[in-house]
């Protein structure tokens, strides 16, 4: 049996640059690599990788495998699988880290299947068991009501990691590493899906997943209007984004993309402000990773007050505009 060694991060590019999830995976991978005293590698595959390999080194990689091919312009399972499959065979990593992104969610289970290995998806915490050197993997289950810990003896040890669950290292341009341009042939006849178009839906303002502050509204907002006025004013002031629980999305008050929770987006901002949201577990499943949760609700018994560290009992129509005004005054000096 081949010897499995080192950590491999399956990197992603976003708009031609190293994606933030990849910097997070590198941060986590660096720690694991240090514990194992092994190398940290990163795969970057695209039609053109540009400056991303250097960036990956600045964020902690020892080796970057750069694969360029026209068929890799956009992620497609059938073409990426060929690249990742070949590289994994060549370098036999002990651990493979993949982002819990639309690419990773698709790629990881297939790769695991091909390698006959297990994969644990959506991990929040990873460490190495010092005795067995196996990866100890923690992931949420039952919509975040519980966490489960997994290990597996199959090699390589594969996981996908939730965005924002790990911290990137401080960027250090003086860090040393090796970029290895790697040629991998892709049999395009094996690519059975054909991309017709890719459409970016531009979020107005800051993207939900990247926002340091999220001002989120629930059914208690009563309609679409207050999302665009009262909530947006507060969000703008805090350089944040507006989000929602599921009912506003179901009712068409806000676009589906703003829906947070078990069946929507999972976010982990520094501050999550939940306004007129009751705090159902299916909602908090999407925001419980936030560093701080503030709740505003007229019902003192609302469950959201059990999740929040700071709560205001009151009507949002009164509390939020007053809060926004006070902040404005303060910022105006």
């Amino acid at each position: 049996m081949a010897e499995y060694k080192g950590i491999l991060v399956c990197g992603e590019l976003a708009d031609g640059k190293l994606a933030s999830i990849t910097t997070e995976l590198l941060g986590c991978g660096r720690k694991l690599a240090n514990e194992l005293k092994e190398n940290l590698s990163c795969l970057l595959a695209s039609d053109a990788v540009g400056g991303a390999p250097k960036e990956a080194i600045a964020f902690g990689a020892d080796k970057v495998y750069a694969v360029e091919h026209p068929a890799l312009k956009e992620y497609q399972a059938d073409s990426y699988m060929q690249v990742v499959g070949k590289l994994v065979k060549d370098i036999s990593p002990r651990v493979i880290l993949i982002g819990q992104t639309s690419m990773g969610r698709d790629l990881a289970p297939r790769l695991a299947f091909r390698l006959g290995a297990s994969v644990t998806t959506d991990c929040l915490d990873l460490r190495i068991d010092p005795g067995t050197k196996l990866l100890v993997q923690t992931r949420p289950v039952y919509g975040g009501n519980a966490q489960a810990v997994f290990t597996s003896e199959s090699m390589p040890q594969m996981v996908t990691v939730r965005t924002k669950a790990m911290s990137p290292l401080e960027r250090d341009a003086s860090r040393k590493g090796e970029v290895i341009p790697t040629k991998i042939d892709i049999d395009t006849s094996k690519v059975r899906t054909k991309i017709l178009e890719t459409v970016k839906e531009e979020a107005v303002g800051i993207k939900l997943e990247d926002a340091p502050v999220i001002v989120s509204g629930g059914r208690g907002m009563g309609g679409p209007q207050p999302f665009q006025t009262i909530l947006k004013a507060l969000a703008d002031l805090l350089h944040g984004a507006v989000g929602a629980s599921r009912p506003p999305a179901d009712n068409g008050w806000v676009p589906e993309g703003l829906h947070i929770g078990l069946t929507g987006k999972i976010v982990a901002p520094d501050i999550y402000i939940a306004i007129a949201i009751s705090g159902a577990s299916q909602h908090t499943a999407g925001c419980s990773g936030s560093k701080h949760i503030i709740a505003i609700n007229k019902d003192p018994e609302a469950n959201i007050f059990r999740e929040a560290e700071f709560g205001v009992v009151g009507k949002y129509e009164e509390v939020v505009p007053a809060l926004t005004n006070k902040l404005k005054e303060l910022l105006a000096g």
Binding site: R105, D122, T193, E201, P212, V319
Partner: protein
């Protein structure tokens, strides 16, 4: 002619009752007695898609589930929604399956059932939610697969154009049948059973198969076929410092501003 359509469904505990699921910390076992079970919500969307395709092109919709004996109820509900035939894969040998063993089990059953033009899965389940079973089953069957499906349009009876959700937008892809699609919530509104359709359930075919019926090798199913090992499940508690403010709006606003300052938001 018509299309042969397969819909994979999993019975899961009702999400409203997740907080009632108790965990035996010693053994790591999950105690879910008294917790009602439902069809995994996205699997209803998957079934609705299957039924619509059948209504358009004619054909047959089979629903399949691997699970304990009570999962038959989920299949009956699916039949009441309009599926033609239910397959329950039920055997102690299947117990303890991880996603790979689950995909293997489904694969052997599909192989026994014969050819399918379209297989629908939910994108993920609400209980364990790994989103792995669909892609892995497609790998086994060696057919194209798309996750995050928001919309399906038929170009002709053999060609699909599928809209797949991405982080910040979507992608449209074209593929040929046979194919496996994992659907998301927005794709449709699942129908409710009618009185008439509920009465028809008893006349429909329900097959229960054990491991030997589908010729699944013991080493590829159940706990034995599962490389993933659960080391424990524990309750998730966030230890947050709490302060809940009642009182006048002015006071509340002042405290909130102070807190936002403390947190570095301004």
């Amino acid at each position: 002619m018509g299309l042969e359509i397969l819909v994979c469904i999993k019975q899961v505990p009702h999400p409203d009752h997740f907080s009632e699921i108790r965990l035996d910390v010693g053994s790591g076992h999950i105690i879910r007695e008294g917790v009602p079970a439902i069809i995994n919500p996205l699997d209803r969307n998957a079934l609705e898609e299957g039924l619509r395709v059948k209504e358009r092109f004619s054909g047959k919709v089979t629903v399949i589930s691997m699970g304990p004996p009570q999962a038959q109820k989920a299949l009956e509900e699916a039949l009441a929604m309009g599926a033609d035939r239910g397959i329950l894969l039920c055997d102690v040998a299947f117990a303890g399956a991880d996603t790979l063993a689950t995909a293997n089990t489904l694969f052997y059953a599909v192989r026994k059932l014969g050819k399918f033009d379209l297989i629908y899965c939910g994108n993920e389940t609400v209980d364990s939610g790994t989103a792995q079973v669909g892609p892995q089953l497609a790998e086994l069957l060696d057919i194209p697969q798309v996750s995050g499906v928001q919309e399906v349009a038929f170009v002709d009876e053999k060609t699909l154009e599928v809209r797949r959700a991405l982080e910040h937008g979507y992608m449209k892809v074209r593929l040929k049948l046979p194919a496996l699609l994992c659907v998301t919530r927005g794709i449709n509104r699942p129908r409710l059973p009618t009185v008439q359709s509920i009465m028809e359930v008893a006349q429909k075919e329900m097959i229960i198969w054990k491991a030997k019926d589908i010729g699944a090798p013991p080493e590829s199913i159940g706990l034995k076929g599962s490389p993933t090992c659960a080391a424990g499940v524990y309750e998730h508690k966030v230890g947050r410092r709490r302060e809940i403010m009642q009182g006048s709006t002015e006071e509340q606003v002042q405290r909130t501003v102070a807190r936002l300052k403390e947190l570095g938001a301004i």
